[in-house]
């Protein structure tokens, strides 16, 4: 099917003479089709995504907002409108702020070392190496492993009585640590799991950006006597700043949504430990959904959405201020 109209809209197609009397109207019609084609069809091409997004992204978002304004438990047919009551309860709920703190703590503990490590790894790989592809594929392996498998294995490693990590620590005379009991220790254990999965992935993204940095800059810097670290700091990092912004934002969003790691680390305990010492926001939502308290869970979901928007905004502003490019 021809989707492009001819370049000259008035011209008749070969072999199909225009009948007298219908000429001007037909030309108008063709012109209209052409206009529609050039102006309208781009929208038609992007429409499938937006239709799907409306059905599976936008509608749930708006509907969740609607639910959050109600007293809404699944087994009751009546859903009474309560306005912002769910939100005011939420702001006074200690468990909500506890979950917020845990999310931030695990987020910082996992994201910051992860990014530093990823840049360092990418820097190491950004040079002529034998078996380059092998190294790059290896970086991605932890990411393609199922999160469940990762958490199950790491939970064993972090075991109190028979865990590998405590065994290693015992060799240097450290008493066994009950990793899942303490707040700090459980956050550290969960952060390690997140780092294990995502460091390699981010390193690959950084590596791709680094390879776009012109070689001449490094050559010139070497001639000027700049060491490796200086080159990394003064050339590489400023040149890949847009990528860093991207990775920081995606990692932050990812960190806000951590669910599987704490859930499985606590052996399917939706409260994230007896003292909620590692219950994240996503897990707190999940806990309330499993209690079938949909109104409250929706309110938490919206608060989390606001937090993520806020975090993304702050990230954007911070990284915007320190402008990219060489100084």
């Amino acid at each position: 099917m021809a989707t492009r109209a001819p370049d000259r809209p008035a011209a008749a197609p070969p072999g199909r003479p225009v009948r007298a009397g219908h000429g001007p109207r037909r030309a108008l019609y063709r012109q209209w089709v052409h206009r529609l084609d050039t102006k309208g069809s781009p929208y038609a091409y992007v429409a499938p995504f937006f239709l799907l997004f409306s059905a599976f992204g936008l509608f749930p978002l708006v509907y969740t907002a609607w639910v959050s304004l109600h007293e809404w438990t699944l087994l009751e047919d009546e859903h009474t409108f309560v306005g912002l009551e769910n939100f005011s309860t939420l702001l006074a709920d200690d468990y909500f702020w506890n979950a917020t703190f845990n999310t931030l703590s695990i987020g910082v503990l996992s994201t910051v070392p992860q990014l530093v490590l990823a840049i360092w790894l990418a820097h190491l790989l950004n040079r002529p190496l034998r078996a380059q592809t092998l190294f790059r594929v290896t970086l991605l392996l932890p990411n393609v492993t199922s999160v469940v498998a990762v958490v199950v294995i790491f939970s064993q490693l972090f075991g109190r009585d028979f865990g590998l990590i405590n065994w290693v620590l015992s060799l240097v005379g450290v008493d066994p640590i009950a990793w899942n009991e303490g707040t700090a220790s459980s956050h550290a254990a969960i952060s390690v799991m997140i780092m294990w999965r995502w460091t390699g992935y981010n390193a690959l993204i950084f590596l791709a950006a680094m390879q776009a940095v012109p070689r001449e800059l490094y050559e010139a810097a070497t001639l000027d006597g700049a060491g490796e670290l200086t080159q990394l700091r003064r050339i590489t990092i400023p040149m890949i700043k847009p990528t860093i912004v991207f990775v920081v934002i995606t990692s932050t969003i990812g960190a806000m949504q951590v669910l599987a790691e704490p859930l499985l680390f606590g052996t399917y305990s939706v409260s994230g430990g007896p003292d909620r010492q590692y219950q994240t926001l996503a897990l707190f939502i999940y806990e309330n959904f499993t209690k079938l308290d949909f109104g409250y869970a929706s309110a938490i979901s919206w608060m989390m959405f606001l937090f993520i928007a806020l975090a993304a905004g702050v990230n954007y502003l911070l990284t915007r201020r320190t402008k990219g490019g060489l100084t």
Binding site: L75, G159, F162, T267, S271, P274, K291, L292
Partner: protein, 430 residues
């Protein structure tokens, strides 16, 4: 929803030709009714379970009297199965014709008689005389108007212990003598103190305190709910007493501080991190799965006299289009013949006391547990249970107390603070 759906051909493959002759139980009566009508149309029954109940041969038997019925079984993970069922009942679609509901959840559904077919309408109330009374009552709606479920198995309660660790601590190892050590929970704690004093390397007296707390509460005449289904957890002295006894266990250093069913707990079963644990009948399977070795664990009576944890009911959601056939099916699945068969094949303890004197149950010994007469131990426990009213949120309430005890174990809170927080958590449960 990512459910496992074993298909009918699989069931058909289990061509069963043995011992189907005399199915004289309740099954055939209803079967006769179904057969008397016009040539029946082809219908399909779905059965929703949360694990392998070993029902497949019984389906084949059912098809002999109901050739027009095709049975499809589907399974989901334990928690998901029950949460899905709630969702399916609320949205009015998607539930199986026959659903299994475990005893921890059955009280979630008994307040909702309009969501299920009343089994009395299909003549199943005639089975009442066969059942353990408390098991029967669990399947009756809260207002008493309707019969919602028929019981399959029960989970009689015992205490599992390790003779090797007991020997090291200078305690008796024979199961009868061990049972005599602890007729009450106080004496159990005293025994624990002796064990702890002997300082057996690397082993605590027991796994945790939550399951003990649960058993103690379930042995009391009133638990978390009163007769009118009001939550009385905060004021019931028996709950507080169970909590205090559990705290005593922690204070005396008897607990290995391991949460039941966590990976380190599993490892601890095999490696001997603890010497005793509360043991419903089905937990013998859990122990075996960890492969501690034959005879490593043995089974004695539970302190406090009897009890039950777990067990299942079969119910028919109102959405089902073929309640008559479904009722006939659960009648067959819970019949005497079926229950004795499931005891042999799947260690499911029958809920019909007449079977407890059947040699197949009464004389059954388990070689993996030092030839312990588990049939007798567990049925004694099930028989001596005093029934208790159980309300819809019993699982959430138990979790609040379980967490509270773990906070004490981990030294995060003083017992009183922890108790107060548990009560606050329970107030919030809707």
């Amino acid at each position: 929803m990512g459910k496992l759906r074993p298909l009918a051909p699989m069931l058909a493959a289990v061509a069963l030709t043995v011992g189907a002759a005399a199915c004289g139980g309740g099954g055939t009566d209803t079967a006769a009714d179904a057969g008397s009508g016009a040539p029946a149309e082809k219908i399909k029954l779905t059965v929703g379970l949360f694990s392998d109940f070993h029902f497949a041969p019984l389906y084949e038997e059912f098809k002999k009297t109901h050739p027009n019925v095709e049975i499809v079984e589907r399974r989901a993970q334990f928690n998901d199965h029950h949460t899905n069922l709630v969702t399916q009942l609320a949205t009015g679609a998607g539930a199986a014709d026959v659903v299994a509901v475990e005893s921890g959840y059955v009280a979630t559904f008994t307040p909702l008689p309009d969501k299920f077919h009343n089994l009395k309408d299909y003549g199943l109330d005639k089975r009442q005389g066969e059942y353990l009374d408390w098991k029967w009552q669990q399947g009756v709606s809260n207002d008493g108007s309707a019969l919602l479920g028929l019981g399959t198995d029960v989970g009689g309660l015992a205490m599992c212990y390790r003779p090797d660790l007991f020997k090291k601590a200078g305690l008796p190892t024979d199961r009868d003598e061990v049972s005599k050590l602890w007729p009450t929970w106080e004496q159990y704690i005293e025994t624990g103190k002796k064990f702890a004093a002997a300082k057996v390397g690397g082993a605590a007296f027991t796994d945790g305190s939550g399951e003990h707390f649960r058993a103690m509460v379930e042995q009391a005449p009133v638990g978390y709910y009163d007769d009118q289904y009001n939550v009385v957890a905060a004021t019931n002295p028996d709950v507080r007493k169970a909590f205090d006894l559990s705290v005593q266990m922690i204070d005396a250093g008897l607990s290995a501080k391991l949460a039941a069913f966590s990976p380190p707990w599993n490892t601890g079963i095999a490696k001997g991190s603890f010497a005793t644990m509360v043991c419903p009948a089905w937990k013998t399977g859990t122990i075996k799965d960890q492969n501690p070795g034959e005879g490593t664990w043995d089974i004695a009576a539970v302190p406090g006299g009897g009890g039950n944890q777990g067990g299942t009911h079969l119910m028919l959601p109102k959405q089902g289009k073929h309640p008559k056939e479904a009722a006939a099916l659960i009648d067959l699945l819970t019949s005497k013949e079926s229950q004795i068969r499931l005891f042999k094949e799947a260690s499911a303890l029958p809920s019909l006391p007449a079977l407890y004197d059947d040699p197949a149950v009464a004389e059954y010994v388990n070689p993996y547990f030092g030839n312990a007469p588990i049939g007798k131990i567990f049925t004694d426990a099930a028989k001596s249970l005093k029934p208790q009213k159980v309300g819809p949120k019993v699982g959430d309430i138990f979790k609040a107390f379980g967490d509270a005890l773990q906070r004490v174990e981990q030294g995060k809170q003083k017992p009183d603070e922890s108790w107060a927080q548990a009560l606050k958590d329970i107030e919030k449960i809707k």
